[in-house]
Symmetry: D2
Subunit: 143 residues, 4 copies
């Protein structure tokens, strides 16, 4: 595996704004903190539309954070290719998140010619107790 970063932090912001405008409809809530070769740290501030009763961040919001974080981490490995497609996404919810921003730490277990399998660990910002754990598979387009 070539360990160079195919996509820089400078590239990623422009890319997301152009190709994922829906990430910005609630304002600037998603931000990429770090990107590497198949790795990414992503932050999600929270917005009223993501809360469930009791003020907790909804499951689907956490799934969105992990999915976009893993997508960005894949770009960090293989660059801006025609769209990779999520084929499987599985999440275990482990504890209630704090009412604060969330961080997803994403990395790939495998990046193959056809399939890439990644893992994301989700935390409440400033709290190292794991909130949720994700594994997901992306179908990588033929070169």
């Amino acid at each position: 595996m070539n360990q160079s970063v195919a996509f820089t932090l400078d590239d990623i912001d422009a890319f997301l704004r152009r190709d994922f405008p829906q990430l910005y409809v609630h304002g600037e809530i998603f931000s990429v903190l770090e990107i590497g070769h198949g790795t990414c740290r992503m932050r999600m501030d929270y917005h009223e539309s993501q809360l469930r009763p009791g003020g907790t961040i909804s499951g689907p919001s956490m799934m969105a954070l992990a999915d976009v974080g893993l997508y960005v981490a894949l770009l960090g490995a293989i660059g801006e290719v025609p769209l990779a497609v999520t084929t499987n996404f599985s999440i275990n919810f482990l504890k209630k998140p704090d009412p604060c921003p969330m961080i997803a730490e994403c990395r790939y277990l495998k990046i193959g010619k056809r399939l890439a399998v990644g893992e994301a660990n989700l935390f409440s910002a400033g709290n190292d107790g794991l909130v949720a754990h994700v594994t997901a598979t992306y179908s990588v387009p033929a070169a």
Copy 2:
């Protein structure tokens, strides 16, 4: 299993508006078409914020539809209990959805004292080709 419906279609709308206001921030995009004992048909119209490049409905939007549909189906079996919590959610994406509303057909495989396991099949409205398949586990609060 008692096959009566614990929650009617009349109840559910008021419940969702009160306890899940975030479902309505984009307008009236979610609607419950049918509810039974552990079953539910739910519809999601689409909104710009759910689209990905190419005009396709995003994965996280489909996850949100399945999660709320399965939650409603559980209410149909056990009634308005203190919040059940999603513990595991797993989705296989099977084909690209059409650019139109989506339907989730939800049903439970098991509703136990502690855990309920449900399944959702997602379709584009008017097209019977399966778009995605979900299994999810909910932790049921002690009576």
Copy 3:
């Protein structure tokens, strides 16, 4: 999807004996009851090595039954191709099986050019209560 059966019940027995001799080390415990285009009913008699404390059939034995059943169902659709490979296998255990043979009812949700996604429902023979539910993905070799 061509609905013809690519592999008959007559073919499958010879195939399994030649390519999966390990299925027979405990005797004749696996048998294919029906095969169709992407469907299969498979039976597993039980053998001491599969039991857990309390006389119940072990989880890994159920996983083996579902995996081979889904493999056979795929052969029923695409014929005897170079080996398909399981890429993801996910099982929900729903209730304790009876101490008797088990049946897996297998069918595919999608058979694509690269990936096939199938589902298996596992029952104790003669009892229609669902014991376990499986979804699995197979990577289909290029033609």
Copy 4:
């Protein structure tokens, strides 16, 4: 979380022989290398019955290794309680294993009052490339 080890390496061998005799029907192929509070390293030698065409270790054998390893790791945290039950088991197969013994490195992400969620990384002995990744949920009996 109490970090003491509830079950020692000395205890575990006697426990497995008494309660999981089926692990030994092919001889001494499973061995616990290390056990900690919610962690375990387990080794599986291979036996003809686990091989698939091409001499590769079968998927169900890897699932059995991960399931027993995670069970042992849970004993290391909560001790010899009435049986914990696997409720969900999900595996991603990442690369073909070498024809040699396999190692499972198991650890828990959460050990709650009702549910414990663990992760296992599977390797071929002497090769640090990840062969498979497992997440599994166990229902913990009430104290």
